[in-house]
């Protein structure tokens, strides 16, 4: 019972922080908009060409935007001391981390996914491709945050965190990238995306099962 109360409190705290500091979710969204809109300047504006690269650009753009929020996961709390409260709590740390990851995923994945179909217009993508892309972004962002939780937990005590986060996290997001963008490509060529979506969901569930435990271990290591 009290575990539920604690997890809910962590979740509610994060959501409240996001609601009060809108830049935390608005900045990644702006980043996403700017990144997706500068690509045509580099590759040209023919809609045939844009349609070919659009899926990849949107998907990678959404992932990079979500990655901007990763330092937020534990860094600020380590600075102001509230991380200690999380660590000294009698409740299992992994569950509390999961609650926090859930809140951050919600606050980031929803705006990014909602923006994806709109930004897909830049790339002349058909609406059914745009909507499946939004769905895969909904799956990919929490996967990235889950993996990123491990990295940012480790980097709380390290130097030069931001760049290292990218080095550690991005290689591990390749499966979700392959399956997520693959699903959208399948729809673009008129096939069923079911297999890719199932595999992407499987990778998400795999991360969901293991990452909170690993992040808890990581946090114990770095704050030891």
């Amino acid at each position: 019972m009290s575990l539920r109360v604690a997890a809910q409190a962590v979740f509610r705290r994060e959501i409240t922080l996001f609601a009060r500091r809108r830049s935390d979710w608005a900045n990644p969204l702006m980043f996403f908009l700017i990144v997706t809109s500068i690509f045509p300047f580099a590759v040209g504006s023919e809609s045939e060409r844009l349609r070919l690269i659009g899926i990849g650009v949107l998907f990678v753009g959404a992932l990079l935007a979500a990655m901007l929020a990763l330092p937020r996961l534990f860094d600020e709390d380590a600075k102001d001391g509230s991380l200690e409260h999380l660590l000294t709590s009698p409740e299992p740390l992994a569950v509390l981390i999961l609650a926090r990851v859930a809140a951050i995923s919600l606050a980031l994945a929803l705006p990014l996914a909602l923006a994806t179909p709109a930004f897909a217009l830049f790339y002349a993508l058909p609406s059914e491709v745009a909507s499946i892309l939004a769905l895969t972004v909904v799956l990919a962002v929490p996967t990235l945050i889950l993996i990123g939780a491990i990295a940012s937990a480790l980097l709380v005590a390290a130097r030069g965190g931001a760049i290292l986060t990218a080095v550690l996290v991005l290689p591990l997001t390749i499966p979700t990238l392959i399956f997520g963008a693959g699903a959208a490509l399948k729809v673009l060529s008129g096939e069923s995306p079911a297999a890719e979506l199932a595999l992407q969901a499987a990778y998400f569930l795999f991360a969901l099962a293991l990452c909170p435990l690993a992040a808890a271990a990581a946090l114990r290591i770095s704050t030891d």
Binding site: I150, A158, P171, I221
Partner: protein, 255 residues
């Protein structure tokens, strides 16, 4: 929480291998292994390259270019094997708190990264005349590239901590997570590869001549010996660096 080395020693008292979990006890052993492996590496390389370059015939389809396999294939194998060895020592280190295990994986990581880089580089040099391009997004090339990234991440993370012990355990955790993910990444890359392009030319798809295989296996053993020798050298350097204040270093090393 990880046990200390002392506690592990007490608990497993009498087992000979725990004695060698102590840097002081393993330091001279590492020196012997290093010397032996240097000898093996040099002599096997001479024999292997001699057979490979002067005795093995020219390949019927690929011409002389195929001879890069005597470097390329062993390097690619070592890149994979070393990652496994590294993850193994990381797991041991996290489980038993033996600091030598962490030093061992730190000693292995740069060699593993170099092996991955060599296999990618020689693969590109082979690909140019054979496939007509330096790089294709083939499943094996791509996963070797990702393996290289995992090595780089491990090395960078270990270097990012001022507190060495923290860096040890943090990078060990990342190595283990990488090890869990390697098969997933490999299979997803394979899946992606079949989606995007047809099967590329597979080297060695046809059966290899025995003499070519012999030379390659000798070179594989030479690479094993080289990697162990370099890792032992790096391990000894790390031991000296980290244990520099210990009395046994003062008396035995500084002569």
């Amino acid at each position: 929480m990880a046990r200390t080395e002392q506690q592990s020693n007490d608990r497993f008292n009498g087992k000979w291998f725990w004695r060698y979990a102590s840097p002081a006890a393993f330091y001279p052993v590492a020196g012997t292994i290093e010397k032996l492996c240097w000898f093996l590496a040099i002599s096997l390389t001479i024999v292997g390259l001699y057979i490979g370059f002067f005795r093995a015939p020219t390949d019927a389809t690929q011409g002389e270019v195929y001879r890069v396999i005597y470097i390329h294939v062993p390097a690619a194998w070592m890149a994979m094997v070393i990652y496994l060895a590294m993850a193994f020592w990381c797991a041991i280190g996290l489980a038993f708190g033996t600091r030598l295990s962490f030093m061992m994986s730190h000693a292995l990581a740069p060699t593993g990264a170099i092996m991955a880089a060599i296999s990618l580089w020689t693969g590109a040099l082979w690909g140019r005349p054979t496939w007509g391009t330096y790089w294709v997004w083939d499943a094996r090339l791509t996963s070797t590239l990702i393996l290289f990234f995992l090595y780089v991440g491990y090395i960078a993370l270990a270097a990012a901590f001022d507190d060495k012990k923290k860096g040890d355990r943090a990078s060990a955790l990342i190595a283990l997570i990488g090890a869990v993910n390697v098969p997933i990444i490999y299979f997803s890359v394979q899946w992606w590869n079949t989606l995007h392009q047809g099967a590329s030319v597979r080297p060695g798809g046809s059966s290899m001549a025995t003499i070519m295989l012999t030379a390659m296996m000798i070179m594989a053993f030479a690479f094993w010996a080289y990697c162990i020798a370099v890792a032992m050298n790096r391990l000894r350097t790390q031991i000296i660096e980290r244990e520099r204040s210990a009395a046994w270093i003062q008396s035995s090393v500084r002569k």
